[in-house]
Symmetry: C2
Subunit: 239 residues, 2 copies
């Protein structure tokens, strides 16, 4: 059993957990390329999937020490150039490519995220613990109204999840023991990695993150809380 | 002339600029020691001054490389033990000493700070750029309603102001050129150090920070804006 009074801060995964990266990218790119002359038409959800598919391998080079720490905006940009080539999208200016890359700063929250997190913020400190870089999370939050108390994660730890340093450095900056931190994520692997560092864990069900997905539909055994959404998490914590 | 449209983020000094450290500490310690049996009576503003007087020398050891980076809570605690001895205050438990040390997390904002910064937040990203550690700034903000977009500064840069790294690392995390950042402070030395890094600068007049102070009464030549308070800064930036 998790005692809500034992928790002092909530640390959140962002992509998929707080915001709908796939739907947001598909909508944003559809509008951007639909406004161009001539229009460019692709299956933008597939483009989003291809882009996201390059995410873990790019971070893995940094995690493995094959490359020094670089922020996620940089990895996204390198991956974007490959994706554009793979989908035969050419003729874009560097300004266009920069704008497209910053779609990760313009992701929309799930409908329950802002209201649920606003309830949670009354009692707890809310920190992002994302692989997204600081400016990405700040810009996204200002656009969407996500009520962070502060932005932590890969860039402030200079380590990408699921490396232990990413979690431990966040707890250290919050001056909390890991057991006073509740990691909130829609992905079991993220929660298992946090739990290994001593964090308590809350799973948020996001069945629409990738339609038809067959993994991460519910919390694995050992996860402390299995929540339908952020409002359910707030209710389970008595907020 | 400063063009408000050239600025994307405001970075703030906190102690003295956003919050009244001296008055808050005097009030808090007066209440804490007044509740004890037997009461302990001292000139608590003098205690605050003595504590603050040890602040720069303690950071200087870290800046000079004589000591690895440690967060300000640690330096404050070491300095507090000296101050308690100097004022012959004894018989405190370690829990009491920890509570007193965290008075820096309980500082009250100047009357204009929250309303002025809430106006500024509508247009700009607001980041702390303080020598205070992350949890100190987060706890203070939750108690006082200070509307940060994120917390930056000494702990995320692992360098104490006025070292250039403290300013440059904040701009880098915001993905901004220094000239897109406006450093806001009630101390000219802080602003000169930021300006050397390429930041634009806004002085906030805080004549009550230390009653009778003869320095930092107005902006030095070369500072971009000289403001009566945070509302005046908001007005000067058209917010």
């Amino acid at each position: 059993m998790l005692d809500p009074a034992s928790i002092r801060a909530l640390t959140f995964d962002v992509f998929g957990t707080v915001v709908d990266w796939r739907g947001s990218i598909a909508r944003d790119l559809g509008e951007f390329f639909g406004r161009r002359t001539p229009r460019i038409e692709r299956d933008w959800a597939k483009v989003a999937d291809a882009w996201r598919g390059k995410y873990q391998p790019a971070m893995e080079r940094v995690r493995g020490g094959g490359r020094g720490f670089v922020k996620l905006d940089v990895l996204h940009l390198e991956n974007l150039r490959e994706v554009l080539a793979e989908f035969s999208i050419a003729g874009l200016s560097e300004e266009d490519i920069g704008h497209i890359n910053r779609v990760w700063h313009r992701l929309d929250p799930w409908p329950d995220s802002v209201v649920g997190m606003t309830r949670l913020k009354r009692r707890y400190a809310l920190a992002s613990l994302s692989n997204g870089n600081v400016s990405l999370i700040v810009t996204m939050a200002k656009r969407a109204g996500i009520p962070w108390d502060t932005v932590l994660g890969a860039e402030t730890a200079r380590a990408y999840k699921p490396q232990p340093e990413a979690y431990l450095r966040a707890a250290e900056m919050l001056c909390l023991a890991p057991a006073q931190c509740l990691m909130v994520a829609a992905h079991n692997a993220d929660l298992h990695a946090a739990a290994k560092c001593g964090f308590r864990t809350a799973f948020i069900r996001r069945p629409l993150e990738i339609p038809g997905k067959t993994h991460d539909l519910a919390a694995d055994p050992g996860i402390d809380l299995d929540c339908a959404d952020m409002n359910d998490l707030a209710a389970k914590l008595g907020c």
